[in-house]
Symmetry: C2
């Protein structure tokens, strides 16, 4: 994040949420210790320029050495961590519990995905209208496209799954 501009830990968290929230997140419990250790390793440095006396506010900037380390990190093969999808786990074991509850989980998850999709589409429209032909924007757009595709796929899966639940429980028909 510090390749964009110098920031405080608090700002870093906010910026991550705003631009990478789609596929990444960091907690303060990660950020502040990391800023300290990156600082000690010389990959970033504290900008003490406008540090008002007694005010607790550290603005960090990336160093040349940090930029080099970032290049190296980008070239390293990404590791994908073990999958853990609690919704799918509950669907898988649905017949051991209340079918209605699992169906409700799916409905809720679908609503969340629809909200996510609308948010991403709004961002996409905004990016495209800016006609930003920087190479950076190109890759940002690609990650956004992944979010959009993921949300659409998930919504379609929810619809299919909800139909299966409806079949299993024809009581629903009567209520209609």
């Amino acid at each position: 994040m510090l390749t964009w501009r110098p920031m405080t830990g608090y700002e870093i968290k906010r910026e991550i949420q705003a631009s990478l929230g789609n596929f990444w997140s960091e907690s303060f419990g990660q950020i502040y210790p990391q800023l300290r250790s990156l600082s000690e390793a010389g990959l970033i440095k504290i900008m003490s320029d406008e540090q008002p006396a007694g005010k607790v506010k550290n603005t960090y900037a990336i160093t040349d050495s940090g930029r080099a380390a970032l290049r190296g990190w980008i070239s390293n093969a990404p590791s994908n961590r073990p999958p853990r999808d609690e919704l799918l786990l509950k669907v898988f074991f649905a017949s051991e519990g209340e079918l209605q509850a699992v169906r409700d989980h799916c409905r809720k998850a679908r609503e969340d995905a629809v909200a996510r999709l609308h948010k991403y589409l709004a961002i996409e429209k905004r990016i495209d209208s800016v006609k930003n032909h920087q190479d950076k924007a190109k890759y940002w757009r690609m990650t956004l496209k992944m979010g959009i595709a993921e949300a659409r796929t998930f919504i379609a899966w929810c619809d299919e799954t909800l139909r299966e639940f409806a079949e299993a429980e024809p009581k629903e028909e009567i209520e209609k």
Copy 2:
């Protein structure tokens, strides 16, 4: 897993990998301590039936109390953990590093997804041929469908992204 049949910790890991590997995983570092604590809570119990003397092998079975706890857990809203996709993070910051390296990451990820997809399709065919009309099988199939849809969406995204990388680096054309 113990709703299926009594198992050892080792078997539980193997079964999780085989049937939920698509969307879940557990490490031994989780399983063994959990078996102990579930056992202490009375949700599962050790079957000491065929325990050969001096042999270190604990087969666990679910109890009625455990089945009730499982029902409760299934009804609780699933929590989705914070996203963390290292590939997308490297694509996002691609212009800060070696474009070729990031492109290679995408190619590798695409290959993995294709392999995953083939595996899922083979399992799907096997499930469908069995014509298993148990309610259980219905929900198992749904989680598999999610895996298939996810893999296809991801492969399509990789293709699109790789085209973007090709545009950024027209050197590739010459090699053709």
